[in-house]
Amino acid sequence: MEWDFTAAFSNIDLLLLGLLNTLKVTGLALCLGIPLGLVLALTRLTHLRPLSLLAAFIIEFFRTTPPLVQLFWFFFAFPILFDINMTAFTAAIVTFSIQSSAFFAEIFRSGIQSIDHGQWEGAKAIGMTRQQSLKRVILPQAVKRMIPAFMERSIELLKTTTLVSTIAYTDLMYQANDLAQKTFRPLEVYSVVALIYFMLIFSVSQLSILIERRLARSGEGTVH
């Protein structure tokens, strides 16, 4: 067998279009998933038991069910149940925002809980409300500790978005499938696509290592 990348390279614009859509889904899902994750985490941590249990259930549900099942459910079942139209793009955004928010919620929760209780007390003793303490004292310290886990999760999300090709959204994977079939060159096309994913994710993970080193150098300054 002979390698022939002509087909793959001459259609690189189609692949790059797919990459753009992959980044769009990932980026939007992050933008919605992170704030939603914070809300879920805070709800999980409230002292109101019914609310806390509800948040815990949502988090566990989306962490334990396969993302492909969730995607199909939002694309096929959800529109019928609620009588609304949903494009593949919308279904992808809804699914991956909620799915990643469940994971982000756990990162937020463990981050917040890792902060010494004395920090809450110190803030409370000078008259700060719970919200003020969270915003000014707890989260700034917690977020710093959460960054590595955040990066890890974002990379995970980027990889999971390949699933959207199954509901015919034109992401990188979908474009690859399409091109492979049209050109009869699956080996070359998938090799190029693997390389694109590798370069993208490798640079993101290098960036995260850089950030971690930077944080380690600036020192965390212990509580006591």
Partner: protein, 257 residues
């Protein structure tokens, strides 16, 4: 004498365990009161009930004559905003300092003034430097807490509480986590505050501080005030067996005079 703090029949239960069994306490303006007692006697809990770090199970707290909380249908309820307001008037310093490690010393002292008292940056900055100067740490304003010694951290914590212009200061075993050689500088700062007329309630194991600085000493035992009086009398001439045992335990290995 103006009465700044009063508790009436204060009870605190943690589940089955009754930690405070009806405390009546009155502290006047300018007084320094020291709470003594063995661990588990309820002295820290009493302190924490005064600024509502803990909510009393029953009984009332009065700050400057005003009852805290409102009574509805025989039940006391506390408004969170009122309690936050109260805590600016009743400052507290902790055993473990609880400074904010992501802020400089100056930012630590400014924080409450900015977010709670809504002072301008300029005013908060000036007040903070004045308070840091008061505890002798104005030159450390730009440092992060991790660069300070324990004694310095605790003095920053005192400045942070003072910057809110409290009427009363509560000290909760503030020297217990310090190396012995750093205890003195913190006690000196506290004595200076007492001399300047600050009203203070201190939980401490430093009998020397109680003897030299306090106007009044309370000995708590099993959730109740067991013995009280001026320090010379209580510490030199205890009236009860329990108090005598407590003092003997403290001076067992004292250097001979």
């Amino acid at each position: 004498m103006i009465e700044l703090v009063r508790t009436e029949n204060l009870h605190k239960r943690f589940g089955e365990l009754e930690v405070l069994k009806g405390i009546d306490l009155s502290v006047s303006e300018g007084e320094t009161v020291v709470l003594l007692g063995s661990s588990g006697s309820g002295k820290s809990t009493l302190l924490r009930c005064i600024n509502f770090m803990e909510t009393p199970s029953s009984g009332r707290v009065f700050i400057r004559g005003e009852a805290v909380g409102t009574e509805r249908a025989g039940k006391l309820t506390y408004n969170q905003a009122d309690l936050c307001q109260l805590r600016t008037k009743v400052g507290m310093v902790f055993q473990h300092f609880n400074l904010f490690p992501h802020m400089t010393v100056l930012q630590n002292v400014m924080e409450g003034q900015l977010t709670v008292l809504k002072r301008s940056r300029k005013e908060a900055g000036e007040k903070s430097l004045a308070q840091l100067d008061r505890v002798g740490l104005a030159d450390k304003a730009g440092e992060y807490p991790s660069r300070l010694s324990g004694g310095q951290k605790q003095r920053v914590a005192i400045a942070r509480a003072l910057a809110m212009d409290p009427r009363v200061m509560l000290f909760d075993e503030v020297t217990s986590a310090l190396d012995p050689e750093l205890v003195g500088e913190v006690l000196k700062t506290m004595r200076q505050l007492a001399l300047e007329g600050m009203t203070m309630i201190c939980v401490t194991h430093e009998l020397g501080f109680a003897y030299h600085v306090a106007n009044r000493v309370l000995f708590l035992n099993d959730g109740a005030i067991h013995e009280e009086g001026n320090p010379q009398q209580v510490l030199r001439n205890p009236q009860t067996q329990r108090m005598r045992e407590f003092l003997e335990g403290h001076s067992l290995f004292k250097l001979p005079d």
